[in-house]
Amino acid sequence: MTTLAPPPPAPVADDARTSPAPAAEQVATRPTADELLIILESGDLERTWGTLILATSAAASGMKVSIFLTFWGFFPLVKPGVRVTGTNWMQRMLSVLNRPGIDHLKMSRLNFAGMGPWMARRLAEEHGVASPAELLDIAQAMGVRLIPCQMTMDMFGLRREDLVDGLEEPAGAATVLAKIAAGVPALFI
């Protein structure tokens, strides 16, 4: 049997200016939601980035997080190294025009044939911001559930072997709506 020792006295904060922790702002007076659903539809670099930052932060705050990835938002789930996806010429051509994979996302504004994303990634690196690929790994390690949209897979001819590991079973709108009906806060990004 282990008994917990009383916490040790706080270490002396040498000569640092020390203050007691300020009272939290009067925001969350309602019961705290313990679950979050994000529907990622856009697949733009900055929106995928924001989705993953929110998802990992929510997981770090003890929330159960699901991300439903649909339409353009599905393509970050395509494995690195898979260049062309689809089983017919239209699906293949679309994947050539819209390169899949989390390392090849475009920005919704100022894309300039890839210059924008390149600069955004450089700036992020200089400022210690984790890349979308790193955040996706962290999200999965923290138990964020990634739910691929079945309709998107069918429409674009995407196969399970084209996708990163560790995904939930593909599902549809009814699965997402059941969560919303149950009161889970949902964001459409």
Binding site: A13, R17, T18, S61, A130, I138
Partner: protein
């Protein structure tokens, strides 16, 4: 007598959300009542740790700042 070691997360140079994520991962491996010291340079962390402490229930015992480094002392709930 046992000497308890103070655990530390060094998140200096990292931006949102990494200081919180590293902290959450470290605190998950600790026992209730143990203390964790977090160092960060992200100015947003001063608000984020207050909010995170409130959401998770882990106590923010103390926070301070010196030479652009923010120091947070947290107690696992």
């Amino acid at each position: 007598m046992t000497v308890e070691t103070l655990r530390r997360v060094d998140a200096r140079g990292l931006s949102c959300p990494m200081p919180i994520i590293r902290t959450a991962r470290a605190i998950a491996e600790m026992e209730s009542g143990e203390l964790l010291e977090v160092l960060a340079t992200d100015p947003g962390s001063t608000k984020d740790f207050v909010a995170w402490s409130r959401t998770t229930g882990h106590e923010l015992v103390e926070q301070s700042q010196e030479d652009g480094v923010f120091r947070f002392l947290l107690r696992r709930k």
